[in-house]
């Protein structure tokens, strides 16, 4: 059933690409309907499967001569991420409801690219055949370029090109690893589980694992390959930033877990020697993840562009996901998957607040300028929204981020105690940058006076629309729900993590 998320999205994209000129408001209603359909299917599939293991969805011979099959299946991790994709898609369309108001917005093209991207993301999360997974992975890259280059803002062509080239370089690395694995295993299957059964020589895994892991981790924003993320997020239109942070970065983390770590678990083994205290690829990547956590948070602390704050916070939060994966423990990986979901929802909410609700009204994202606009009074809705989203994002108990972060840190404490301490520091810095941005943007005590010393009246902005409210309720409600009752997702995630290859959960030994 879940396969219809893919077909629905691509069919919707095709219809919108051929949409008659002029009827742009109808186009966005149609796009919303398609995204809602996808969310409904994803939700139904999630509920129907409960805490079952992997559910096979489709298995057709595609290119039998090369052992390539159209194989889809969903375990708990996939189902959770499909659900996240549905949420992000619906929220993204709700927060782009102003596209199509003006003549020449090309709204149908915008939503066609949007839905094509969503379709690719659904496909990645559901593919079992690695060839198929790679096809969907690349399908998701191309629309991003056009979404940003055409509808973006600050340095959009630069940001779009940088993002496309980083993504494509990463996927080239992945493809080298996959092709080598395919050829080594006798080139008669591309099925993930069948390939994972093949005993690849440890020497082979030792180079294939870092290659494929890095290839995927580029898209997950791993330091030092993260630089596409802040520029891309800032350049992107709101809906595209929401998708980028919300689901596209998750593709990278998902690939790390599902492909790199599952296929080449012995790539995580110790090298047998240690250099500066680093003795395995696992430690190398965990170190990079921790650096990403602290670095992203520290850089977010000094940004003046509101959107860059959120952009770097994504790098920091995704570092936590990667750290959780590399703990190679049940609780750490549970936390990482939950953090993927939580960050997807919360980053979407933050980008929507900054990019849509604030920027579309004030036309500035400069924190210095925003501090003079008395937004706390002028836009109480936005101010309180940012307080809630920011608190949730910094890990306040009661919201989804807290449960996830605690699990990742517990896992990391067992695996790499020092890294756990440093990551904890990064989370504290997270509180600081969120606080600073919130204070400067909304609750600044800069006197509201003009150059002559006369008091400036609180500016009037257009009221918050129903679409914005609906999107906020959807995302914030989800985060709160998961924060209060995380078992909703953990019941699906835990069995799926337990079913990961045994060698993976051995803790790298």
């Amino acid at each position: 059933m879940l396969a219809y998320t893919i077909y629905l999205s691509f069919a919707g994209a095709l219809v919108l690409a051929l949409w008659p000129r002029g009827r742009m408001r109808a186009a966005r209603v149609f796009a919303l309907a398609v995204a809602l359909g996808g969310l409904a299917v994803g939700l139904a599939g999630f509920v129907a499967a409960g805490s079952q293991g992997a559910v096979a969805i489709a298995d057709l011979a595609w290119v039998p001569a090369m052992g390539i099959h159209y194989t889809l299946a969903a375990d708990g991790i996939s189902r959770v991420l499909v659900l996240l994709t549905g949420l992000a898609a619906v929220a993204g369309i709700l927060f782009s409801w102003n596209i199509g108001d003006k003549e020449g917005d090309r709204a149908n093209e915008f939503f066609a690219f949007f839905l094509a991207l969503i379709g690719g993301v659904y496909g990645v999360f559901l593919s079992v055949d690695l060839f198929l997974l790679f096809v969907f992975y690349e399908i998701a890259i191309v629309p991003k370029y056009f979404l940003i280059a055409i509808w973006g803002s600050t340095r959009r062509e630069y940001g779009a090109m940088k993002l496309a080239l980083y993504s494509f370089a990463g996927s080239a690395m992945v493809l080298i690893g996959l092709l080598a694995a395919y050829a080594t295993a006798g080139s008669h299957t591309m099925n993930l589980h069948e390939l994972a059964q093949y005993p690849f020589p440890v020497s082979f895994q030792m180079w294939a694992f870092p290659l494929v892991f890095t290839g995927f981790a580029i898209l997950a924003g791993m330091w030092p390959f993260h630089t596409w993320a802040p520029t891309g997020h800032v350049a992107a239109p709101t809906a595209a930033s929401m998708l980028l942070a919300g689901v596209v970065m998750k593709l990278g983390a998902y690939g790390c877990l599902r492909v790199a770590m599952t296929l080449f678990p012995h790539g995580l083994d110790p090298w047998g020697f240690s250099f500066l205290g680093i003795g395995s690829w696992r430690t190398v990547f965990a170190l990079l993840a921790v650096i990403g956590i602290v670095y992203g948070a520290a850089v977010a602390l000094v940004q003046n562009d509101f959107k860059f704050v959120i952009g770097y916070s994504s790098v920091s939060h995704m570092g936590l996901v990667l750290l959780g994966l590399l703990t190679l423990s049940q609780i750490g990986i549970d936390g990482a998957v939950l953090q993927m979901f939580s960050h997807g929802v919360l980053a979407g909410l933050l980008f929507a607040t900054v990019g849509r609700i604030v920027y579309e009204r004030t036309h500035t994202r400069d924190l210095g300028l925003l501090s003079k606009l008395q937004l706390g009074k002028a836009m109480p809705f936005a101010a309180w929204l940012f307080v809630i989203a920011g608190m949730a994002s910094m890990g306040l108990p009661g919201f989804s981020g807290f449960v996830a972060e605690v699990q990742v840190l517990i896992g990391a404490w067992h695996a790499f105690p020092w890294f756990a301490v440093v990551a904890g520091v990064g989370i504290v810095v997270g509180v600081a940058y969120t606080w600073r941005a919130m204070q400067r943007a909304f609750f600044s005590d800069t006197p509201a006076v003009d150059s002559n010393g006369a008091a400036i009246a609180v500016p009037e902005y257009e009221p918050v629309t129903w679409a914005e409210k609906a999107g906020v309720i959807l995302l914030a409600g989800t985060s709160l729900l998961i924060g209060l009752y995380p078992r909703l997702l953990l019941d699906a995630i835990e069995p799926a993590v337990r079913a990961l290859p045994h060698a993976l959960l051995m803790g790298g030994r």
């Binding site: 001569a65 690349e138 080239l165």
Partner: protein, 486 residues
């Protein structure tokens, strides 16, 4: 060659014969009856006659899929050869369909007749298994292409392109003939199978190395591989668009087909340890083409030159498959060449239409194409993404199949993995320049906003090609009846 069966020879060369007859027919009809007619009508009649001729030849090849045997060892007939020939005929027919409304020539009959002659040359090159036949067929092809390149008689660029093409081509043909003569001297035969047998029992001699390098130069010129690529950018830029499409498509397929056949005679001995120089030559040509083609394309601002350098890069990828030398890699190269050629024909079709409207093929001429003609822009999007190797388009599939076959080849050891990594890295680079064009088409604001008019025939042809690019990418097994996969 002593016991030639003429009936057999006739059966094998019937497609070529059909083309020859049609090309004469085109001349007779055009010069005999239509001289007073309007230019457009003459071109349409000539092109449609040519398309019919190609169709007839395709029908014959499809209806006689069984190999009819080798005519005295000079011509091969196998399902792979037939697939390449059908592909070449389809490509020529598409080029003719896209030429119906071109206006560069006042001699439609001659134009179409020479296109058909060039196609005949391609068919013969594809099937040739004898040094002499290979040489004669290659010259038939090359001479036709030189003439076609110069066909826009009022354009100085066209003449310059033809002269460069001719000088480089003549030189490399001379080198190749020189190499062939040494090969004959060393082995006493002109048949490729005979040469393979003779080389298997010979040790490497300096003469053999000279011969191989000369042959590599001649064939390297035809496929535009570094360092024999210098003609390509100028010729691609100067020739009339349909002619460039022909050079970039059918001629490429034929040249790669003959390269597979020729290397098939040398590589077994080379991999057995005798004359490894041939592998070294191929691998270096491949690596050089991949690196230089992709890097030089980054700097281009003319779409034709960009596609010329990208053609060099693609030739590099295909040379990897040739060097890997297995049955699968040969089939994979052919698959790659055919699908690449198909996509390129489409791309040059779009370029021709943009040039007709704006008079230029520079990036600026493509600005805002998506607003001036959305369907045209969408087809170009598909072609360029396919060339960049983005799934689910056919270009990705062809790359995957090719590189998988290289990695699987027992003879491609470490260099196989290294070069596949290089090729994949380079295709990530290639996305940059393809996106440069697409950025103009989809992002940039157009200088003029009036729609670009496209005749329904041209649009139908381009949409057909785009549909093939998508369908072959989604269902790669469609062609596997002709070209085995895996």
């Amino acid at each position: 060659m002593n016991s030639m069966n003429y009936g057999n020879l006739f059966a094998i060369t019937l497609p070529e014969t059909i083309l020859e007859i049609v090309s004469l027919l085109v001349l007779i009809v055009d010069l005999g009856w239509l001289r007073k007619s309007a230019q457009a009508a003459r071109m349409a009649v000539a092109c449609w006659l040519g398309v019919l001729g190609c169709g007839g030849a395709i029908a014959w090849l499809m209806l006689h899929p069984e190999p009819v045997g080798i005519a005295g060892g000079a011509l091969a007939a196998s399902s792979l050869v037939a697939a390449a020939q059908i592909g070449i005929l389809v490509l020529s027919a598409l080029v003719l369909l896209l030429s119906v409304r071109v206006e560069f020539s006042r001699n439609p009959g001659e134009f179409v007749a020479i296109v058909l002659l060039a196609t005949t040359g391609m068919l013969l090159v594809t099937a040739a298994r004898d040094l002499l036949v290979i040489f004669v067929a290659l010259e038939l092809l090359s001479l036709s292409l030189y003439v076609l390149t110069a066909f826009a008689k009022s354009s100085a660029q066209s003449s310059e392109a033809a002269l460069k093409y001719y000088l480089f081509g003549g030189m490399s043909a001379a080198l190749m003939l020189f190499g062939f003569s040494y090969l004959y001297g060393l082995t006493g035969t002109t048949s490729l199978t005979g040469i393979a047998a003779a080389l298997a029992s010979q040790s490497v001699s300096p003469l053999l190395v000279v011969a191989l390098v000369m042959v590599a130069a001649g064939l390297g010129f035809k496929v535009a591989a570094v360092p024999f690529h210098l003609w390509a950018p100028d010729t691609y830029q100067g020739a009339p668009a349909p002619v460039t499409a022909l050079i970039a498509s059918g001629s490429k397929v034929a040249s790669f087909a003959v390269l597979i056949a020729v290397t098939g005679a040398f590589l077994p001995a080379a991999y057995a340890g005798q004359g490894a120089s041939w592998i070294v030559v191929l691998v270096w040509m491949a690596a050089g083409s991949i690196v230089l083609g992709n890097l030089a394309a980054l700097a281009q601002t003319s779409v034709r030159r960009l596609l010329a350098y990208s053609a060099i890069a693609h030739a590099g990828y295909m040379l990897l498959g040739i060097a890997a030398h297995t049955a699968q890699s040969g089939a994979a190269v052919l698959y790659y060449a055919l699908t690449y050629a198909l996509t390129t024909v489409g791309a040059f079709g779009v370029i021709a239409l943009v040039e007709r409207e704006t008079g230029s093929d520079r990036f600026d001429a493509f600005a805002g194409l998506s607003r001036r003609n959305p369907l045209l822009a969408a087809t170009m999007l598909l072609y360029l993404l396919s060339l960049a190797g983005i799934p689910p388009l056919v270009g990705f599939w062809a790359k995957f199949n090719l590189f998988a076959s290289v990695l699987r080849s027992p003879s491609a050891g470490v260099w196989g993995l290294g070069l596949v990594a290089l090729a994949l890295g380079a295709s990530a680079v290639s996305l940059y320049y393809y996106l440069q064009v697409l950025k103009r088409i989809y992002v940039a604001k157009p200088a003029q906003v009036e729609p670009i008019a496209v005749s329904s025939l041209e649009m139908a042809t381009l949409v057909l090609i785009a549909a093939a690019v998508v369908v072959l990418g989604l269902l790669p097994s469609v062609l596997s009846g002709w070209i085995p996969l895996g």
